[in-house]
C-alpha cells in the first residue's frame, strides 16, 4: 500500500502544505523579530542621559534630547485616558448590566465601527470640533482625538470582562438587599477588575504610539509643555518628523525615540499577557 502512487502523491502534498504553513508562521514571527530587534539595536546606541533630560536642539546642531516629547506623550496619554475612561467604562457597564438586546446590538455595532474608523479621520474630526472653534492647535484637541480612539476599546473589553462575572454573585448581592447599582459598583466591577484594567492598558498601548491624529491637533512644540490650550509635542510625532529629516543626527534621534516608544508598548503588552495568564 505504501508504494501506491496515489498515496505517495497525497503524502507529498501533505508534507509540502504543512511545511508551507509552518513557514508562513515562521515568516510572521521573523518579521516581528526583525523589526523589533533592529529598532532596539539601533535605538539603544543613542540613548543616554542627555537624550532623556534635554530639549530638542535646532536642526543641524549635535546633541539635544526628547525630554519635551516624553513629557508631552505622558500628558497626552493621561488626558486621553481622563476623557475616555468614564465614557468607555460607563458604556461597558451599560452593555453588560443594564442594556436590552436591541439597544445593546446597536451600541455594540457602533462601538465596533468606531474602533474601525481610521485614526487620521478621527484627527480631522478633532480638528473640526476643537481646533477650528478654538483657533489654535492644542494639547486638548489631541486628547479628544486620542480619547475617541480609546473609548470603543475600553467599552468593549470592560463589557466582556463584566460578562465573565458569574450571575450567582450578582444574585447573592441582590439577595442581601443591595440595590442593583450598588451591586454593580461593589460586586461586579471588583470581580471584573483585572479584565477591565487589561483593556485599559491595551487602549493606552494603542494611543501611546498613535501619530496620525496628532499631526494637526498636537502639532508639536519645541518649547515644552505650555498649557492644555497650546500646541504640545509628542514622541511619535517627533519620530515621524526626525525620520523624514535630512540630518543624520535627527535620524539617530528618531531611532532612539522609537526605542523608548517600543519599550513602553512591549512592557504594557507583556504586563497584559502576564495578568491575563495569571487569571486563567
Amino acid at each position: 500500500m505504501i508504494s501506491d502512487p496515489g498515496y505517495l502523491r497525497r503524502r507529498w502534498v501533505n508534507r509540502i502544505m504543512v511545511s508551507l504553513s509552518t513557514l508562513a508562521a515562521a515568516i510572521a514571527i521573523a518579521l516581528l523579530i526583525l523589526i523589533l530587534g533592529y529598532t532596539l539595536f539601533r535605538g539603544i546606541a543613542f540613548i543616554n542621559l542627555d537624550f532623556l533630560t534635554q530639549a530638542a536642539k535646532p536642526a543641524g546642531e549635535a546633541g539635544g534630547g526628547m525630554r519635551n516629547e516624553i513629557i508631552g506623550t505622558l500628558i497626552l496619554i493621561a488626558l486621553g485616558s481622563l476623557l475616555a475612561l468614564p465614557i468607555g467604562l460607563m458604556a461597558g457597564i451599560f452593555l453588560a448590566e443594564f442594556g436590552n438586546p436591541r439597544i445593546n446590538a446597536v451600541v455594540r455595532f457602533g462601538a465596533d465601527i468606531l474602533a474601525g474608523v481610521p485614526s487620521i479621520v478621527i484627527g480631522v474630526f478633532a480638528y473640526a470640533i476643537v481646533v477650528k472653534p478654538m483657533h489654535s492647535y492644542s494639547a486638548f484637541s489631541a486628547g479628544v482625538a486620542l480619547a475617541i480612539i480609546m473609548i470603543p476599546v475600553v467599552a468593549r473589553t470592560a463589557e466582556e470582562a463584566m460578562k465573565l462575572v458569574p450571575g450567582s454573585l450578582r444574585e447573592a448581592a441582590l439577595a442581601l438587599g443591595i440595590t442593583r447599582w450598588r451591586s454593580v459598583i461593589g460586586v461586579v466591577i471588583p470581580g471584573a477588575i483585572t479584565g477591565i484594567v487589561t483593556g485599559i492598558m491595551l487602549a493606552v498601548a494603542r494611543i501611546a504610539g498613535e501619530t496620525a491624529p496628532l499631526i494637526f491637533t498636537a502639532l508639536g512644540n519645541a518649547f515644552g509643555f505650555d498649557g492644555l490650550d497650546k500646541p504640545i509635542s509628542a514622541l511619535p510625532l517627533q519620530i515621524y518628523r526626525y525620520a523624514l529629516s535630512a540630518y543624520p543626527d535627527q535620524n539617530q534621534q528618531a531611532w532612539a525615540g522609537a526605542f523608548l516608544l517600543i519599550v513602553l508598548v512591549l512592557l504594557i503588552s507583556l504586563l497584559v499577557r502576564w495578568i491575563s495568564g495569571r487569571r486563567r
Binding site: R10, S21, A28, V107, G110, A111, W181, G209, A243, I262
Partner: protein
C-alpha cells in the same frame, strides 16, 4: 376570607402584598373578615425611605450609563455630519468631478481625488495579495499544526506585531525595507519581468510596492488572529470524520476545516482590508508622496490617508481644506462599508457556531 382570597384582592389593586404591609396595612385593617394582622407594621416609615433612596440610585445610574453608551453612537454620527459640513465648500465647488479629476493644484484651487483613491486601493490590494497566504498559512499552523507548548507563545508573538506603533514600522520601512526593495527586489523584477507595465520604470525604492509590503506586514497579525479563532471554532467531529476516512492532515484542513469556517476567513481578510485602507503613518513614510496614477508598482504614489497626513496642517483656504476633509469623508465611508461587511460575516460565523451546538 381565606388568605388566598386576600392576596388576590390586594394583587387586583395593583399592589404586591408586601407593598400593602409597607403602606401601613390600612387595607388589611379595614377588611373585617381578616381577624389578625399577619405582620408587624412598625418599620413601615424607614423601609419606605430606604426604598425611595434605593430607587433613586437605581433610576439614575442605569440612565447615566445609557447616556454615555449612546454617546458612542453620537460620536460616530457626529464624525459623519461634521466631516460632511466641513467638506461642503469642496463638494459644492467640484461635485462629482472631484472623483474623476487627477488635479491637485492648491495655487489655482483645483482638486481631484482620483490618484489618492487609486493609490489607496492599489497599495491595499498589494498588501492583501501578500498578506492572505502568509496569514492563512500562519493561522493553519497556529490552530491545526503547532504542538501545544508552541501555540500560545507563537500566537502572542504574531499579535505583538500588531502592537508595534505604525510610525516605528514606517521608520523601519524607510531605512531598512526601502533600500532593500530598491536594490535587489526592484532591479531583479525590472530585469526579469520588465515587459509587464507593472514592473517598468526606475527603481526608486519608495512607492506602491514598498507601501504594499509594509501594509502586508501590518495586517498579517489581525488576519491571522481572526482566522485562527475561526478555525478553532470548527468542531472536532469534522476533523475526526475526515481522519476516519483515511485523509491526510492537509486533506483534513483543506476539505473539512477551511470550507467550514469560510465566512470567518473572508471576514478576517476584509477586516484586514479595512485596516490597510485607513493605515496612515507607515504608508506616508514609504510611498513617496507623488500625486500620479501609473501602472508601475515602482512609481511613488499617494493614498488618501497619506495625502491628508502630509498636507492638512499646512493647508489654507476653504476649498483646499474642504477638499482634504472630503478625502477624509471618502476614506471614512469606504472603511465604514468594508467594516460593516466584515462584521456581518464574522457575526454570521458566530451564529453558525451557536446553531451547531
Amino acid at each position: 376570607m381565606s388568605k388566598n382570597n386576600l392576596e388576590r384582592r390586594i394583587w387586583s389593586e395593583g399592589k404586591t402584598p408586601y407593598s400593602a404591609f409597607w403602606a401601613g396595612g390600612d387595607n388589611l385593617k379595614s377588611d373585617k373578615t381578616c381577624e389578625t394582622t399577619p405582620f408587624p407594621i412598625q418599620p413601615a416609615k424607614s423601609a419606605a425611605r430606604i426604598r425611595r433612596v434605593r430607587s433613586i440610585g437605581d433610576r439614575i445610574f442605569p440612565r447615566f450609563t445609557l447616556i454615555l453608551a449612546v454617546l458612542v453612537l453620537v460620536i460616530l454620527v457626529g464624525i459623519i455630519v461634521i466631516l460632511f459640513l466641513d467638506a461642503m465648500p469642496a463638494i459644492k465647488q467640484f461635485g462629482l468631478s472631484f472623483f474623476g479629476s487627477t488635479d491637485w493644484d492648491p495655487v489655482n484651487e483645483r482638486f481631484g481625488a482620483l490618484p489618492a483613491i487609486y493609490g489607496t486601493l492599489l497599495s491595499s490590494f498589494i498588501g492583501l495579495i501578500i498578506a492572505i497566504p502568509l496569514s492563512i498559512g500562519a493561522a493553519i499552523f497556529l490552530s491545526e499544526l503547532a504542538p501545544a507548548w508552541i501555540r500560545s507563545p507563537a500566537s502572542f508573538l504574531v499579535e505583538l506585531l500588531a502592537a508595534i506603533p505604525s510610525v516605528i514600522i514606517g521608520l523601519w520601512g524607510l531605512f531598512i525595507l526601502v533600500p532593500f526593495i530598491r536594490h535587489p527586489v526592484e532591479s531583479w523584477l525590472g530585469d526579469k519581468l520588465g515587459f509587464l507595465p507593472l514592473f517598468q520604470g526606475p527603481p526608486f525604492g519608495v512607492g506602491f510596492l514598498a507601501a504594499g509590503i509594509i501594509l502586508a506586514i501590518m495586517i498579517t497579525p489581525i488576519i491571522t488572529a481572526v482566522s485562527r479563532d475561526a478555525m478553532k471554532a470548527v468542531p472536532d467531529t469534522q476533523r475526526e470524520a475526515m481522519y476516519a476516512l483515511g485523509a491526510t492532515r492537509w486533506e483534513t484542513i483543506s476539505r473539512a476545516v477551511l470550507p467550514y469556517c469560510r465566512s470567518g476567513l473572508i471576514g478576517a481578510v476584509i477586516l484586514g482590508l479595512a485596516r490597510a485602507l485607513g493605515e496612515t503613518m507607515a504608508v506616508t513614510m514609504v510611498i513617496g508622496n507623488s500625486y500620479k496614477m501609473t501602472a508601475s508598482l515602482f512609481s511613488p504614489g499617494t493614498t488618501i490617508a497619506s495625502k491628508i497626513a502630509s498636507e492638512f496642517s499646512e493647508a489654507s483656504g476653504e476649498i483646499f481644506i474642504g477638499s482634504l476633509v472630503e478625502l477624509a469623508l471618502v476614506l471614512f465611508v469606504i472603511t465604514l462599508l468594508v467594516n460593516i461587511i466584515a462584521r456581518l460575516l464574522v457575526w454570521r460565523l458566530t451564529t453558525v457556531k451557536v446553531e451547531g451546538i
